[in-house]
């Protein structure tokens, strides 16, 4: 299925995917100082894994890998296994015996940059949807 509607659906999946990226960046920023999570350990930075998924279901073109409209979906949200930051703060309730507190492995400036990228990608897809919409409108004007 290679219709303008399929293109529209592909852009719509991209909006969902980049919305997820923004969400993850926002949770990383929000939890940059969270020293304990549900399991008692500090929050770990999360990352979104995006995967391309052909639109239009099980068609011959899809099976051949020749579908022209390829959407995107969030394949996984993974936790960054890099070491936690530490800060000397003996009065903190989560400090270890040497007085160091483990803080999430989140670098706030980096997250802000990631979020800007995700927001720009979202906007780019909005622009694409606008163009597809204009094209569909123009095609409908053929009947006038």
């Amino acid at each position: 299925m290679s219709t303008l509607t399929a293109a529209l659906n592909a852009s719509a999946t991209a909006l969902d995917a980049h919305r997820a990226r923004i969400e993850v960046a926002v949770s990383n920023i929000a939890n940059a100082e969270s020293t304990r999570g549900p399991d008692g350990t500090p929050y770990r930075r999360r990352d979104v894994v995006l995967s391309a998924s052909p639109m239009g279901g099980d068609t011959f073109d899809t099976a051949l890998g020749k579908a022209s409209a390829v959407g995107v979906h969030v394949a996984d949200v993974v936790e960054d296994q890099s070491p936690f930051r530490t800060r000397y703060e003996p009065a903190h309730p989560d400090a270890d015996k040497d007085g160091f507190v483990s803080l999430p492995n989140v670098d706030v400036p980096e997250e802000v940059v990631d979020m800007l990228g995700a927001a720009r990608a979202y906007q780019a897809n909005l622009q694409a949807i606008g163009l597809i919409q204009d094209t569909i409108k123009k095609a409908l004007e053929l009947g006038k």
């Binding site: 719509a12 969902d16 919305r19 919409q133 009947g143």
Partner: protein, 102 residues
């Protein structure tokens, strides 16, 4: 407010049945009468309007996103516009035939 659009088709039986007689005899062909096509088109408008409705509802109660609601609305508008264009052509053709002098 949410009147099923499909009911319009039943209001125009004379247009829907105004098909060339040879195709009426050709039963079993994949292309059914035009009236059925029109009804199917109206049903699809109905369906996309329903989807748009639920997408907007989801957005309002926080389970859906703004873009999902807007895209559903745009799709509904597209299929409605397509139906309106098909209907315009249909009425125009009907009037052209009616104006024909014999």
């Amino acid at each position: 407010m949410t009147m099923p659009i499909g009911s319009i088709a039943t209001g125009t039986p004379s247009i829907a049945d105004a098909r060339p007689s040879p195709s009426a005899g050709a039963a079993g062909k994949s292309s059914g009468p035009f009236g059925e096509k029109l009804t199917a088109l109206l049903d699809s408008v109905d369906e996309s309007a329903g989807q748009a409705n639920s997408a907007v509802g989801n957005m309002m109660d926080g389970t859906g996103d703004v873009h999902q609601a807007m895209i559903a609305l745009q799709k509904a508008e597209n299929s409605l516009q397509l139906t309106v264009q098909v209907r315009n052509k249909l009425v125009q053709a009907y009037q052209d035939v009616m104006r024909m002098t014999i």
